[in-house]
């Protein structure tokens, strides 16, 4: 019996859920989106996903080699590799995906210490970098229901996405049902709104992501879109067009909920969600790019530690509520007592005016005199020090 016994710290029972199960859930949630992309754009979408997975995995292995760490099979590079192609058009050249993955792993993850230490969302930074480098490739989308060639130059018709029309202030050519089903052109994984929402709900049910983040982002964002429409349509139509274009829902479920870069507590997540909604809205309202989500998300990642600090300060007060109230009560009691001390003042006057004019019969209580003397001594000491 003795030989087999192993050391372990308390607690000795642990939750069956682990990082691997969480990440597997996310991968499972991404697979239907890839299936829809395959349905709309053909086998190239799957090859893009594969390229993303392979490049992220190989690069993170290289990264752990450079950091001289044992590689941890935590599946996070696979998720980054799966998310990046979904934000890009289906006919994007493979080297663009590899570049985005390289930025995500080598600029965002490895320099800060690998998984769990990145300051920004790797997929968002990867996407933003290729959007800046190759905007002519990233912001033009092939029409759906036509298979894009796996190799060689794409011959599929190119169209502008509804998000582009919205950024110009024009009503998109596509009706809302098209956008809901994903037949409108756009990023390969972000147009199938129904599937994306179903996958997001799956993640929430499996507790891989916290429901507060997407809800606290989508509700204020919807409200803003309805109050300040960019196009002259009814508020509800404006809401649908804004919400279903530009990877907003995909980002809300799969990117904003990334655990490393989002605040830790529910209250922090709520604050982050609301402020992200405002920032994304402003980026899309005034920004030059039609896909303002990634840039806004990168900006919001900076504020996550601040939201955490705010939560901690609030909780610190709550934790110490009793002791703080006790100390306040004690302070008030002390002040009250000081006010109600009638003995000290007359004696002080007597001490101050110890001139020969005072009658000798004045009785001075012993104790207060001592107190005053000591106070005077202290004052003298202070004066001497000054």
């Amino acid at each position: 019996m003795k030989e087999k016994l192993m050391f372990q710290n308390a607690p000795h029972v642990r939750q069956s859920e682990s990082v691997v199960t969480m990440m597997t859930d996310v991968i499972f949630a991404l697979l239907p989106i890839y299936f829809m992309a395959f349905f709309y754009h053909g086998a190239r979408s799957l090859v893009l996903g594969l390229v993303g997975i392979i490049s992220c995995s190989v690069l993170s292995l290289l990264g752990s080699f450079f950091l001289r760490e044992k590689p941890v099979p935590d599946l996070t590079p696979i998720i980054t590799g799966l998310i990046i192609p979904l934000l890009l058009p289906a006919d994007i050249p493979y080297y663009t995906v590899v570049s985005a993955c390289a930025v995500a792993i080598f600029v965002v993850k490895v320099p800060f210490g690998g998984t769990g230490s990145n300051l920004f969302n790797p997929a968002a930074v990867g996407f933003a970098s290729v959007a800046i480098c190759w905007p002519e490739l990233v912001f033009r989308y092939p029409v759906t229901m036509q298979a894009v060639e796996v190799f060689g130059k794409s011959t599929v018709k190119i169209a502008q996405s509804p998000a582009y029309s919205l950024s110009l202030g024009a009503v998109p050519d596509y009706n809302i049902l098209d956008m809901l089903l994903g037949t409108a052109p756009g990023p390969m994984g972000a147009t199938n709104i129904l599937v994306v929402v179903a996958c997001g709900i799956f993640l929430i049910v499996k507790k891989a992501v916290n429901w507060i983040t997407p809800v606290s982002f989508l509700l204020p964002y919807s409200a803003l879109c309805m109050i300040f429409p960019r196009i002259s349509v009814s508020p509800l139509e404006s809401l649908c067009y804004e919400l279903f274009s530009g990877a907003i829902i995909f980002g809300a479920f799969f990117m904003l909920t990334e655990p490393v870069t989002s605040p830790k507590r529910d209250f922090g997540k709520l604050m982050a969600g609301i402020s992200a909604a405002v920032v994304v809205f402003l980026f899309r309202y005034y920004g030059g790019f039609e896909m303002g989500f990634a840039s806004a998300l990168i900006l919001m990642n900076v504020f996550s530690p601040i939201f955490d600090a705010i939560c901690e300060s609030v909780l610190h007060v709550i934790r110490h509520k009793e002791s703080i109230s006790d100390s306040l009560k004690a302070e008030m009691k002390r002040k009250k007592e000081e006010k109600e001390k009638p003995v000290v003042r007359p004696v002080k006057k007597v001490e101050e005016t110890e001139a020969p004019g005072i009658p000798e019969e004045t009785e001075v209580p012993e104790e207060p005199v001592e107190i005053d003397l000591s106070e005077e001594k202290e004052e003298e000491k202070e004066a001497a020090q000054l």
């Binding site: 019996m1 003795k2 087999k4 016994l5 192993m6 050391f7 372990q8 710290n9 308390a10 607690p11 000795h12 029972v13 642990r14 939750q15 859920e17 682990s18 990082v19 691997v20 199960t21 969480m22 941890v72 935590d74 996070t76 690998g114 998984t115 769990g116 230490s117 655990p259 490393v260 870069t261 989002s262 605040p263 830790k264 507590r265 529910d266 955490d308 939560c311 901690e312 909780l315 610190h316 709550i318 934790r319 110490h320």
Partner: protein, 348 residues
């Protein structure tokens, strides 16, 4: 407030130990002589009861203090409450609950004696309610004493004070200690035994046993039998106990509540923290556990103090929920000890 002070839901796994009767290990009892042997139990005065607790050397298993000292020092005053601790909110452990369920007469007598010393206005037995994985129904009353079902998530023991009236004194005494007090009054028997839950997935006959204090863990496991060699043996509760390597040398004490033999240890693998914040949400004291772990690993004791690490009760909820299997609780408890040491040395 429960929005922040959450805790965790635990599968209790208390069956079949709870419903089975307590197994008593063969032993020789020790008895004591007192100055008032002929006094009837109903006529025992408060001082005599304290003397009985002292002679019987009864230790309260809930906090490890001597019962007679607790009874002597306790000053409930007006409107005070006596709480009998039979909460057992840790998985597998049911030693205190089984005392209440299988030996209600003895427990009632023990409580009656304590009441005579403390003269509380209210007395109740506290038991953990959320044993959802079994059909066991907690009784409403044990003897004439009401059972208060403590609900909510683990750790429930730290929430007992919420059920008390504000501004009134209270005292918590373990159920096993009460039972030993009843035995001391009835039979002049010393406390030479303790109640231990023997459980785990490799234990052949899991149940609550009454064993002499000082029995080795190996002997107790032999009594209940093992189906296969365990990879981990735990002395104490499943959430707060410690893993032992030499079961032939490790003995049970008056505060030991369980021996758990597990086929598989949870393993030594651990991923890096992904910052999911589950530990923060699980903490029943609403501490920022995720940040504190980072400070503890970096040795920043001053920051840890600012984040109230001293409030950590070591319940292990943070480690339980961690998907990266990081020993968060162990790190924080170690840091807490370091801070206490540094304070003593005057370096902090």
């Amino acid at each position: 407030m429960s929005l922040f002070f959450k805790g965790i839901f635990l599968e209790q796994k208390k069956e079949p130990m709870l419903t089975r009767s307590t197994l008593v290990m063969r032993q020789e009892f020790e008895y004591f002589d007192c100055d008032f042997p002929d006094t009837a139990i109903d006529e025992l005065s408060g001082e005599q009861i304290i003397e009985l607790a002292r002679l019987a050397e009864i230790v309260d298993e809930s906090d490890g203090k001597m019962l007679w000292e607790k009874l002597e020092k306790a000053n409930l005053g007006e409107g005070g409450t006596l709480i009998v601790d039979a909460i057992d909110d840790e998985p597998y452990i049911s030693s205190q609950m089984s005392v209440g369920i299988h030996q209600p007469e003895k427990l009632s007598l023990g409580i009656e004696l304590c009441e005579r010393v403390l003269s509380p206005e209210k007395t109740y037995i506290a038991m953990y309610r959320h044993i959802l994985d079994s059909n066991f129904g907690i009784p409403r009353k044990i003897g004439k004493y009401p059972v208060k079902k403590i609900g909510g998530l683990y750790p429930a023991e730290s929430r007992v004070h919420r059920h008390l009236p504000k501004g009134k004194n209270s005292v918590i005494i373990g159920a096993c200690a009460m039972l030993h007090l009843a035995r001391a009054a009835e039979e002049s028997r010393k406390m030479t035994t303790c109640f231990v839950t023997v459980a785990g997935d490799v234990v052949k006959n899991p149940r609550n046993v009454e064993v002499p204090i000082g029995t080795t863990a190996e002997k107790i496991l032999e009594l209940c039998g093992l189906t296969e060699e365990p990879e981990a043996i735990i002395l104490g509760g499943s959430m707060t106990g410690r893993a032992i390597f030499e079961p032939e040398n490790e003995t049970v004490g008056p505060t030991t509540r369980g021996i758990i033999a597990l086929a598989r240890s949870y393993g030594t693998y651990s991923y890096t923290c992904i910052g999911c914040g589950r530990c923060d949400h699980a903490c029943p004291k609403a501490l920022s556990v995720c940040s504190m772990r980072k400070f503890a690993e970096a040795g920043k004791l001053d920051l840890l103090q600012e984040y109230d690490v001293s409030m950590c009760i070591g319940c292990g909820a943070c480690s339980y929920v961690c998907p990266s299997r990081i020993d968060v609780a162990a790190t924080l408890i170690k840091a807490k000890k370091q801070i206490e040491l540094a304070k003593k040395e005057g370096t902090l």
